[in-house]
C-alpha cells in the first residue's frame, strides 16, 4: 500500500491529503481506494479537458494551414467553440435508423471510450507518478488499440447501412494490416531496454541520457505512420472517407453519439502522442531540465508537441487510396520493421555481450540513422515504380464467384 501512496506524492497538496487520510483512518483499503479514485479522476480530467482543447486546437491550426482564421466568434479567439459544439451535439435529436440493430447500435460509442481512456493508465507522468506500472505495458497498449477497431466494426455493422458497413470493413482490414508493423516497431524499444513497462523504458532513457528515437529512428517513423492509420486520421482516414463512403462507420450516428466518436478520435491522438513521447522521446525527462520544471508538465508538453505534428499531417496531406494504404503497410512498413528488428537485435546482443558503456548508443544512433536513410531511399525507389503505383484488382482464388457481402437483415424493427 505504501508504494501506491508514494506514487502520487508529486502533487504536494495530494501528498498531505494522503497523510491526512492515513492518519484519520487506519484502514489501508480506504487509502488505496481513495488514491485510485483521485488518480483516475486526475487522468480523466486531463483527458476530458484535452479532448475539448483539441477540438479548438485542431480547427485553429488547420485553419492556419489552410490560410483562414478558424473559429473566432465564440469567446476570445474562438476558445468557447468546443463548448458550443458540445451543447449543440447534446441537444440534437437522437436519430436511430429503424432497421438498425437495436442494442448493438447504442453500444459502440460507449465501447470505443473504454480502451481510449485505459491507455492513459500506464503512462509515466513523473518519476513516481505512474497510475499503473504494468510489467507488460507496451503489449497492453497494443491490445487496447486492437480492441478499438472492434468497437468501430460493431458501429458500422449495427447501422445497417452499406456505407457504414464498408467503412467498418475498411477499419478491420486496416487494423489487421497496420497492427503488424506497429507491433514490430514497438518491439525495438522493448529489445533495447529489456523491459515492457513504460516507466522502465522512460527510466532507461533518463539514466542513459539519450532518447531512443536517436537509436531507433526507423521504428519512430513506422510507429507514427501505423498509429495514424489506426487512428483514422486524414492521410489514412479511408474508413470515413467522405468523398467515397459518406462518413464511413459513423454515417448513421447523430448528436452526441457522433460526438463521442469524434472525441475518442481526439483522445486517441493524445494517447498516440503520449506513446511516441514516452517510448521514443524520453517521456517526462528532458536532459536534466526536469529537475527544475515539474516532469508532468514536460510530458504534457511533449504530448502536445506530437499532437501538433499529427494536426500538421492532417492539414497538409491528401487522403491515400485504400490499395495504396494497404500496399504501403505490406510492401514497405513490414519489411522495414523486420529488417530493423534483425539489426537492433544484433546491436543489443553486441552491447550486452561486450558490456559496453553508454557511448555505444551514439555509435548505434549514427549507424541506425544512416541505415534508415539508405533503406528508405531503397524502398521509395522500389515502390514508386509504375508497376506498384497502378491500382490493381485483387484476384480471387480460382476466380470463385462469390456473391456480394450479405447485408445484415434484422427481422424485428430496431428499438433501443
Amino acid at each position: 500500500m505504501r508504494a501506491v501512496v508514494a506514487a502520487w506524492y508529486d502533487f504536494d497538496p495530494f501528498h498531505e491529503l494522503y497523510e491526512w487520510i492515513g492518519d484519520v483512518t487506519s484502514s489501508e483499503e480506504l487509502v488505496y481506494v481513495i488514491i485510485a479514485v483521485v488518480g483516475a479522476t486526475g487522468i480523466l480530467s486531463f483527458v476530458g479537458l484535452g479532448a475539448l482543447a483539441n477540438v479548438w486546437l485542431e480547427r485553429k491550426i488547420i485553419g492556419r494551414i489552410q490560410v483562414r482564421r478558424g473559429p473566432n466568434r465564440v469567446g476570445p479567439g474562438g476558445l468557447l467553440q468546443p463548448v458550443a459544439d458540445a451543447i449543440k451535439l447534446i441537444q440534437k435529436e437522437v436519430l436511430q435508423p429503424r432497421a438498425s440493430d437495436g442494442k448493438l447500435y447504442n453500444l459502440p460509442p460507449i465501447l470505443v471510450f473504454i480502451p481510449a481512456m485505459l491507455t492513459f493508465a500506464v503512462f509515466a507522468w513523473a518519476p513516481d507518478m505512474v497510475y499503473a506500472d504494468l510489467n507488460v505495458g507496451v503489449l497492453y497498449l497494443l491490445a487496447l488499440s486492437s480492441v478499438t477497431s472492434l468497437a468501430i466494426f460493431m458501429a458500422g455493422w449495427a447501422s445497417n447501412n452499406k456505407y457504414a458497413l464498408l467503412g467498418a470493413m475498411r477499419v478491420i482490414a486496416m487494423a489487421v494490416s497496420y497492427e503488424i508493423p506497429m507491433v514490430l516497431a514497438l518491439l525495438a524499444p522493448v529489445l533495447f531496454t529489456g523491459t515492457m513497462s513504460i516507466p522502465g523504458i522512460v527510466d532507461f532513457q533518463r539514466t542513459n541520457d539519450i532518447w531512443l528515437a536517436f537509436m531507433l529512428p526507423l521504428p519512430v517513423f513506422i510507429y507514427a505512420i501505423s498509429a495514424t492509420a489506426e487512428l483514422n486520421r486524414t492521410p489514412a482516414d479511408i474508413a470515413e472517407a467522405e468523398s467515397e463512403i459518406v462518413a464511413g462507420f459513423h454515417t448513421e450516428y447523430s448528436g452526441m453519439k457522433f460526438g463521442l466518436f469524434y472525441a475518442v478520435e481526439l483522445i486517441n491522438s493524445l494517447a498516440v502522442s503520449g506513446i511516441l513521447a514516452s517510448l521514443f522521446f524520453g517521456g517526462y525527462s528532458l536532459f536534466g531540465i526536469d529537475e527544475y520544471i515539474p516532469p508532468w508538465i514536460i510530458f504534457i508538453g511533449k504530448i502536445y508537441f506530437f499532437y501538433f505534428g499529427l494536426i500538421w499531417l492532417r492539414g497538409t496531406w491528401p487522403r491515400l487510396r485504400i490499395d495504396q494504404l494497404m500496399a504501403f503497410s505490406w510492401k514497405m512498413l513490414i519489411p522495414l520493421a523486420l529488417i530493423n528488428i534483425a539489426v537492433v537485435s544484433a546491436e543489443v546482443l553486441i552491447w550486452r555481450l561486450n558490456e559496453f558503456d553508454s557511448w555505444i548508443f551514439w555509435v548505434y544512433a549514427l549507424m541506425n540513422i544512416v541505415m534508415m536513410f539508405v533503406l528508405l531511399q531503397f524502398f521509395f525507389t522500389m515502390l514508386t515504380k509504375n508497376y506498384y503505383r497502378l491500382p490493381r484488382r485483387a484476384t480471387l482464388i480460382h476466380d470463385v464467384s462469390v456473391p456480394s457481402l450479405p447485408a445484415p437483415t434484422f427481422t424485428q424493427g430496431g428499438n433501443a
Binding site: E28, N135, V136, A143, S149, I172, T395, P403, P406
Partner: protein
C-alpha cells in the same frame, strides 16, 4: 482485502465468461454470436489477471479479441450463406449432450485436482521467463511453430499471386 477483491472479481469474470459463452450458442444473429464470443475471450483475459498472469492476459486480448475475432468476422461476412443465421440444426441434441459430458469431465477434473498454490510475488516478470523458456528448453517447438507460420504465409502468397489463375 486482496483476497475478497480477487474472489469477487473471479465470480464476476466467470459469470461474464460463462454467460457470454452460453449466448454464443443461444443467440440467433451470427455477428452477435461472434461478438459474444469476443466478450467471453475478454472475460477469460480477466480471469488470467486474477491469477497474476498479466502477460497471458494481455496476449489473450491482443490475439483473441484483436486478431482471431477479426478473422471470424471476416469469415462470417465473406461466407455466402451467413445470412442463414444461427438457425436450429438437426444435430443440436447430440452435440449438447457431448458438450454437457465435456463440461462434466472438466468440472470433475477441476474438483479432483490437488491445485498447488504458487508462491512468490504477484505479477512477477512472467514475460521475461516465458521468453527464456521459449528460447531454451522449448526452442524446438518454437522453431517448428515459426516454420509452420512461414509455410502458411508462403502458401497464402502463392495462392493469391496475380497471374496464377491460368495454371490453376
Amino acid at each position: 482485502m486482496d483476497d475478497t477483491a480477487v474472489v469477487v472479481a473471479f465470480y464476476v469474470l466467470a459469470a461474464i465468461t460463462l454467460i457470454s459463452a452460453l449466448m454464443v450458442a443461444v443467440v440467433r444473429d451470427l455477428i452477435h454470436a461472434v461478438l459474444f464470443l469476443i466478450l467471453s475471450f475478454i472475460g477469460v483475459a480477466g480471469l488470467y489477471i486474477t491469477l497474476s498472469a498479466d502477460f497471458v492476459a494481455v496476449v489473450q486480448v491482443l490475439i483473441y479479441a484483436g486478431a482471431i475475432s477479426v478473422l471470424m468476422i471476416f469469415a462470417v461476412l465473406l461466407t455466402p450463406r451467413s445470412d442463414r443465421d444461427n438457425a436450429a440444426v438437426s444435430y443440436a441434441a447430440p452435440l449438447s449432450v457431448l458438450a454437457g459430458l465435456l463440461g462434466a469431465v472438466i468440472i470433475f477434473v477441476g474438483l479432483d485436482t490437488d491445485w498447488r498454490q504458487v508462491e512468490g510475488d504477484r505479477f512477477g516478470q512472467t514475460a521475461a521467463e516465458i521468453g527464456q523458456a521459449l528460447l531454451d528448453p522449448y526452442a524446438l517447438p518454437f522453431e517448428v511453430a515459426s516454420i509452420v507460420l512461414v509455410v502458411a504465409m508462403i502458401g497464402a502468397i502463392i495462392l493469391v499471386r496475380p497471374g496464377n489463375e491460368e495454371e490453376a
